[in-house]
Assembly symmetry: C2
Homo-oligomer: 203 residues x 2
Amino acid sequence: MTEVRLTRKGQATRDRIVAAASELMFERGVAGTSTDDVRAAAGVSTSQIYHYFSDKRTLVLAVIAHQTEAVLTTQEPLLSTLDSLEALRAWRDFLVALQQGYGCRGGCPIGSLGSELADVDDEARQAVATGYTRWETSIRAGLHAMRDRGDLRPDADPDRLALATLTALQGGLLLTQVRRDTVALEAALDSMIDHIGSFAPPR
Amino acid sequence: MTEVRLTRKGQATRDRIVAAASELMFERGVAGTSTDDVRAAAGVSTSQIYHYFSDKRTLVLAVIAHQTEAVLTTQEPLLSTLDSLEALRAWRDFLVALQQGYGCRGGCPIGSLGSELADVDDEARQAVATGYTRWETSIRAGLHAMRDRGDLRPDADPDRLALATLTALQGGLLLTQVRRDTVALEAALDSMIDHIGSFAPPR
DNA sequence: CCATTTCTGGAGTTGACACTCCAAAAGTCC
DNA sequence: GGACTTTTGGAGTGTCAACTCCAGAAATGG
């Protein structure tokens, strides 16, 4: 783990490579993206890729990290305040719209990488798992807030509900990609949100 | 679509190729499986693969069809009687145990293919979508039976619940694969089953 | 049992892709 | 402004994978 110094320019080039690789791998998968594709898209020369990354595997790990940040950043305003049914529904609407914006292509930027790499590169698998954990943690925080505030009964299990929600979301993104249609995503998230709502205290 | 005659022996060889390819692609993905790997695993020669399949793409389509049958067959006794909460729970337990039997590897035999191919081969995407539809239809039938019988209130929407259940399952399989742990699958299915249970009529 | 079709073995071709190498240009820092 | 490091260009290399070809062996069917 020798840290190598990067100049500002170097950092910029590195970023451009990761960004280009992320986009291509999102569209065509890791195996479907050659280093030469990345080279062309990033507008760099062959040697630059190998100057910043020891091999393609390492680049892929950087892509996973980059996509994790991107996913969390994109949802940020919503994700940090998922502490009411209305907020959950707004988040759901946001995700559905986002997928439609992509023409229902690509699936989950993290999940697709996970599916492709999990059984093939253990370090990549763990990196994706870490990304999921961060995502899950955000959802969890909102549900805990709801329970603490009394919007959910004490017997609600925020951790398990958060995990189930993330899971439903992942399934929804996969089915959206395969069917080119967001109904599955909608149905899954709606069901989960209704289920969370069923833990509201009697009034 | 010229149908070519196959002798019994020819059919057997073809089947062996598809079976070997299915297993390898389940473990390492489509891109991670070379035709030569398949050749070796099936114990055939190069020309045999290209005698039965015009190219790798076509073989992959056969693999998708094969895995769809396999998935439905494996779950068959349970799948055709998913018409009570107990049956749903037994099915859930079966799926969880199945994943554990695989060491939480591989994910969904159909879903993994879908994720890898959806944006890259439209025919493959549609084939996977068809597989999902058949799966969904089975789940749907059970829920309809429950509603018709009065185990679910008339306002329950079996179609939407079935879709949400399949979606939760898919997400659960993906997370199982990435985290090497079935908790997500359990949480997602349990939540969905509880949600279905919430449509039970008052008594 | 012969003509025809299907099946099989394996060597060969072609292209793509991950990665190397080296020399020069640009940037950094005292 | 000079010694050093970082960055860049691009030609080159070796491997591997998809697919072709052809000739011979087995099966089929009248």
